[in-house]
Structures are given as structure tokens and as C-alpha cells.
Amino acid sequence: MAAIPSAAPGRWQRFRESDLVYHFKRDKVAMFSFALFLTFLLLALFAPWIAPTDPYDKMSIDIMDSEIPPVWMDDGDPRFLLGTDEQGRDILSTILYGSRLSLTIGFLAVGLQLFLGIIIGMTAGYFGGRIDSFLMRLADVQLSFSTLMVAIIISAVFKAAFGGEFFSRYAVIMLIVVIGVAEWPQYARTIRASVLAEKEKEYVEAARVIGFKSGRIMFRHILPNCLSPILVISTVQVANAIMSEAALSFLGLGLPVDQPSLGALINTGFEFIFSGRWWILLFPGLVLVALVLVINLLGDWLRDVFNPRIYKG
């Protein structure tokens, strides 16, 4: 969240008495979403210790165990709570490892977006003039294409250019880069709008009079005051990135079958749904929807609390 409690106790005290926490304690939906999100995060983080089996370990998989339905059904096996997929992998374990990958890609891709967005948005907002209009035109143009479309085309070209094998080996990095590059304009616009508003304020004037350099004013003075809109769009962007990753993996342009994310699991499950083996698809699907939903709900709540001047586009 906004303030990390690792700082001085005074800061922790301030955080506990802040508006954010005040609103949080009075909103059941936000508390519930946050709890669920935290659960997902912890489960994903500790997947290697929690998961009953290791889906990457080919030795532990037995093809004889394939396509077993969940425990509560007639042919269920108590070893596999949610059943197994076509290779005999435990679905619960693949989901745990899959959400780990989905979340990793989501966070890192948003990190990249944030990095690009801050540099570009700050430059455009602070310096203005020609640089500003050029960068914002660029953002407009890229936004006018669907970000999903851009991501699909870039990864399709990567895949065709480097071949399937190379692509699957570096799929995680590719996806982070593709999703990160496809969505920077969102950040750049929001940050530019906040910078424009902050730039006129007196503290910036004061800093300039003291003789601080542009870089210092931009990052030490203006940036901290733009944090709340950044936080709001970051939540939505993480949800978007997870969705984009799932869509790309579903199209076969993302993670390979032996290293499945939630989207890749759904892709595998799709082949088996016609023969009635619904559990291979349904459970990863539910986890994906739940994950995206709680992040979106948190984003909605944050937006209501901060009510920032998000660039309306």
C-alpha cells in the first residue's frame, strides 16, 4: 500500500491515522477484496511450499493419473483435490504456480509501464512546449490502437521471427516487455496531468528560486505529490496486465504448456471442455476472474477515496 510500515514508528503512527486507513476500516467490500488479494499474493508467493506437487517436475507426474475429476465427484482421487489435467498434473498445484507467474508478469509489466510513464510523463509535463506536444501526440496515437491489439501484434511478430522454441524459453521476459511497452501512455498522460497541476504551485516556485536543478525538483518535489493518481491507475493496470497476459497465453502467444500461467491453463482446458472435462478449465478460470475482480474492486475503492484528477480519455 501507500506507506510501508518498515519506516520509523512515527510514520507507522501517521499511516494508521490517515484518511486511507479510516476509509478502509469502514468499507466492507474494500476490506474483503484486500484480504482476498493478500491471500492470493501469499499463496502465489509460497506456492512451492504449499502446492501438493511440483508441476514443473516431470518425475512426479504420472500419465496414469491424467484427467481425474475433483475429489467430490465419483471418480475423484483424494490425492488431487481439484482433479488433474491431461498430463496428470495436479490442478491445484498448476493453479498455484500459474497465479505466481501471472502475478509476477502483471507486477513487473506494470513496473515497466510505470518507469516509462514517469520518465515520459514528467518530461512532457515539466518541460512543456514542443517536447510535450510531440510526446502526447505519440501517446494519443498509441492509445488510439487498442493496447491488446498492439500486444498481440508485437508478440505474434516476435514469435514468427524467433521461432516457437526461443519464444517459449523467454516467454516471461517477452510478455513483460510487450505488455509494459503497450500500455505506457496511460501512465504518461496521468502523470503529465498531475505534473501540470503541481508545477504551478508555490513550493515548486520556491524550489526553483533556491536554485535546485530540474531533475531534483521533478523527482524529489513534484513526483511525491503525484502519488495518489499513480496508485489508483496502478491497481487497474495490474488487473489489465494480468488480463492481457491471459489473453496472449490463450492465443498461444504467451507462456508454453510446460510453464503454464492462468491463461495458458485455460488454453489447455479449452481443448478438453468439449469432452466434458470441465474442471481443467473451470478452476483456473475462476481464480483468474476472482484475482482480477478483487484488484478492480480495490482500484474502484482507491479512486473513490482519492478522487484524483485522472486524465479522462
Binding site: S133, R137, V141, S144, F145, S146, L148, M149, I152, I153, A156, V157, K159, A160, A161, A239, M243, A246, A247, F250, L251, G252, L253, G263, I266, F270, I273, F274, G276, W278, L281, G285, L288, V289, V292, L293, N296, L297, D300
Partner: protein
């Protein structure tokens, strides 16, 4: 106005040029056209001669110039797989894709406007809360998951509707379309619902928030104070001003739907552009990939430019000359 028009058109042309450079770079670096032509059995020396003859060893700019000249004549090369001009292959598949986009747009317009207006006028009813909750959930379900779920329930379990393909399209006034036959319509229902599923919640929210903004404005308060009938205020005065931003965002989103057709077409094996593109990627059919990139880029640029121009025409407060923007 003329300056605005020229500026927008110029911008569109520049964007198209950038897209063509990207597309050409893809074509230039992906695959070897010579191998597609002559196979493996030609010696290295002959190959080199052929390369020179075909101009494959020319500098990038020269090759790009040729590519651009051909592209302007509508020639984007031949598809390796179909052995036909790539652009023709894509345009053949444009119809089915547009059928999906059209159906989804109809669903979105029919549902989002009444629901958005209702939820804005009655913010505290149970129905509003249900609609808003459902739209929060709807935004979080990926299109392909909705599509698969619909297929599973209505095609596999209940057997009411076909699960894939476009069926037997009908003929009407010389145009072939799935809308002109019962079989085609049955095939259209599920993909169209699936495609609209992600945009519908977005549009309900958009209509609602614009309507709320309009309802809190001065002139609506004034109309109320004047004693005008509430229905007249809502549907005649407020709705009109709500539709303006909805139209502009909507126009752009219809372009965005092209991206989502790829996902829908993959699930339903709908023979459209998106499905074609995925096949082209798997076959490394470079000319077809290039043609798709250019074609889709063209659709986006045209819709965006048109929407911008329309907006400039309808809304007098838009700064037409772009000064100070």
C-alpha cells in the same frame, strides 16, 4: 474547420506511414521470399544472382520505397499459403468479422443506454445495485472465458445453439451474410454475446457517469426549478448531452473490438480476420501478417480520425485549430 480537417488528415497519413515502415520492417526481416519461390535446390551463386535481380540486396530505403508504391496500389504481396494477393485474402474475411462487430455493437447500444440512464436517475434502487455489481464482475471476466462458458452451457450441455463455425450464410441482394439465414443467425448469437460482454459493462458505466455529470449541471437544476416534467428533462435535455462523449469513446471502442474479435474467433472458430491472422502467425505467412497489420492499422486510423472530426463538428467548444492543446 478546414485547417482542423487538414491537420487531422495529415496526422492520419503520418501514422499510416509509420505503420507501413513497421510492417515493412516485419516483412523484410521475417522469412525469405526467395526460398518460398524456388525452394532449396538452387545453388548459392544462383541465389545471389536472383537476389540481386529481385532487388533484395538493395538498401532499406529503396526497398521500402518499392513496398510503399506497391502498397498504395493495393498490392501487399502474395500470401505464401493461399497463393493469392494477401489483401484479397483479408478482405474476404472482413465480412464475417464485421458481422460479429455489428452484432456486438447492437447488443451494446440496446442495453447500455437504457441501463446507464436508469442507474444514473435512480442511484439507490436494488436494481441499480445489481446492475453495478454485475458490471464490476463483467469487467473482470476475460472475453475468451465468457465465450467458452457460453459454448459449454448453451452448445454442449443444452445443445440449443451450435458451438463453432459460421453455418450456412444466406444471400440477400447479392450480398452473402450470416444475417440472411436462420442457420447463420443461430451461429451468430453466442459469438456476438461473448464479444459484447467485455464492452457492455464499460459502456453502462460510461453512460451512467456522463449522465450523472449532466444531471448535476446548472441547466438541469434550472429546468427542474422551472417545473418541467422530469421525463422531459431526463430524456430530452440530459440524454442529448450525455450522448456526445459516449459517441466519441464509443467510436474508438468499436475499433478496439477488432482486437477482441481475435479472441472470440479463436474460441468459436469463426472464419474471420482474427482467426486468419492466428493461422498466418503459426504458418509464418509473412505477407499475410504484414497485410493484416497494415489493414488493422488502417481501420484504427480511419475510425479515430472520423470520430475526431465528428466530435469537432458536433461540439463547438473543441479547439479546432489545436492551438494551446
Amino acid at each position: 474547420m478546414l485547417i482542423f480537417l487538414l491537420k487531422r488528415t495529415l496526422q492520419a497519413v503520418i501514422v499510416m506511414l509509420v505503420i507501413s515502415v513497421v510492417a515493412f520492417a516485419i516483412q523484410d526481416n521475417l522469412g525469405d521470399p526467395l526460398r518460398e519461390l524456388v525452394g532449396q535446390s538452387v545453388s548459392a551463386a544462383e541465389r545471389e544472382m536472383l537476389r540481386d535481380e529481385m532487388g533484395l540486396n538493395d538498401p532499406f530505403i529503396e526497398k521500402y520505397g518499392r513496398f510503399l508504391k506497391n502498397a498504395l496500389h493495393g498490392d501487399l504481396g502474395n500470401s505464401y499459403f493461399f497463393k493469392r494477393p494477401a489483401l484479397d485474402v483479408i478482405i474476404d474475411k472482413l465480412g464475417p468479422t464485421l458481422e460479429l462487430v455489428f452484432g456486438a455493437t447492437v447488443i451494446i447500444v440496446v442495453f447500455s443506454i437504457p441501463l446507464g440512464v436508469y442507474t444514473a436517475i435512480h442511484p439507490n434502487t436494488t436494481f441499480t445495485k445489481i446492475v453495478m455489481a454485475l458490471s464490476s464482475i463483467g469487467i473482470s471476466i476475460p472475453v475468451f472465458l465468457t465465450a467458452i462458458m457460453l459454448t459449454y452451457i448453451f452448445a454442449i450441455q443444452l445443445g440449443w445453439l451450435p458451438s463453432f463455425g459460421r453455418g450456412e450464410p444466406g444471400q440477400f441482394a447479392g450480398i452473402e451474410s450470416a444475417y440472411f439465414s436462420v442457420d447463420g443467425l443461430r451461429h451468430l448469437i453466442l459469438p456476438c454475446i461473448a464479444l459484447s460482454s467485455i464492452m457492455l459493462p464499460l459502456f453502462i458505466r460510461l453512460v451512467r457517469s456522463e449522465m450523472l455529470e449532466v444531471l448535476s449541471s446548472e441547466y438541469i437544476k434550472f429546468a427542474k426549478a422551472k417545473g418541467l416534467a422530469l421525463n422531459r428533462i431526463y430524456y430530452q435535455h440530459a440524454l442529448k448531452n450525455t450522448m456526445l462523449p459516449v459517441l466519441t469513446v464509443g467510436g474508438v471502442q468499436i475499433g478496439t473490438m477488432v482486437a477482441y474479435t481475435i479472441l472470440t474467433e479463436r474460441v468459436f472458430q469463426w472464419p474471420g480476420m482474427g482467426f486468419l491472422f492466428l493461422e498466418a502467425v503459426n504458418r509464418v505467412d509473412t505477407p499475410l501478417i504484414t497485410a493484416y497489420v497494415i489493414f488493422v492499422g488502417f481501420i484504427f486510423v480511419v475510425t479515430n480520425t472520423l470520430v475526431d472530426l465528428l466530435y469537432g463538428l458536433i461540439n463547438p467548444t473543441v479547439n479546432l485549430t489545436g492551438k494551446g492543446a
